[in-house]
Symmetry: C2
Subunit: 134 residues, 2 copies
């Protein structure tokens, strides 16, 4: 019905993995092996998380990744956004040439808006820390 990409799923799992490591540095290899995620693909995901400032890297032998800040300070929404981009749930779709006649008061849009709000609200109120404490 609704669907979330493996990119986000992998990304969240990697973040949880790092959060459970308490600052200890982890190589991509170890994460990918423990989580059963393709090394090469995970690399691209991790790279986005890094660029978003959620994790940091140390290069060279014995290098690896670690969280850039405390799990308490990392909202799940940030993680997803950094992977999927900012695009909203819907962008109005109409055959080009035809302007949506309703535009300002589109009833469908109202509904999607509610869904969007709820998703934002949940994912911005839950932090990594919330997920790892039982």
């Amino acid at each position: 019905m609704f669907k979330i990409s493996t990119k986000s799923q992998y990304g969240l799992r990697a973040m949880i993995y790092l959060a459970n490591c308490h600052k200890k540095i982890s190589s991509l290899k170890s994460i990918s092996q423990k989580e059963g995620i393709s090394f090469d693909y995970l690399e691209k995901i991790i790279s986005k998380l890094e660029k978003a400032g959620l994790i940091k890297a140390k290069k060279g032998a014995k290098g690896g990744y670690f969280l850039a800040k405390s799990p308490k300070k990392i909202k799940i929404g940030e993680i997803i956004r950094s992977l999927e981009g900012e695009r909203g749930l819907v962008k109005c779709v109409t055959k080009k040439g035809i302007k949506c006649p309703l535009e300002k008061k589109c009833l469908a849009k109202n509904f999607w808006g509610k869904i969007q709000e709820s998703l934002n609200s949940i994912s911005n109120s839950i932090t990594l820390a919330d997920l790892i404490k039982k």
Copy 2:
């Protein structure tokens, strides 16, 4: 960040259109023109809605589509499900061969579960009637 397919967007708009017609029969052509949606594509969407029992058709000249029941009785969730299928938000993804070591207590899964619940709850509590009354 999250995304909804145009299929669902078109489908919802078509349903709203029909709901606003109060039982009056509408041809596919008229819906597609008024909403600016490709005739051929809309046909496939409408067909799913029909098979799901949400709308009914009358064949032949002067034929067309109309809601199978009162807008009050049609949940938005039903509409979306009939178009997108029942598949959940996530299915556990792991390289095959590797069983997810956590399975029962996967922390990521907990989160997706919450999101899923919220989506279900919203879309099953709002009806077509709610959308069209202002």
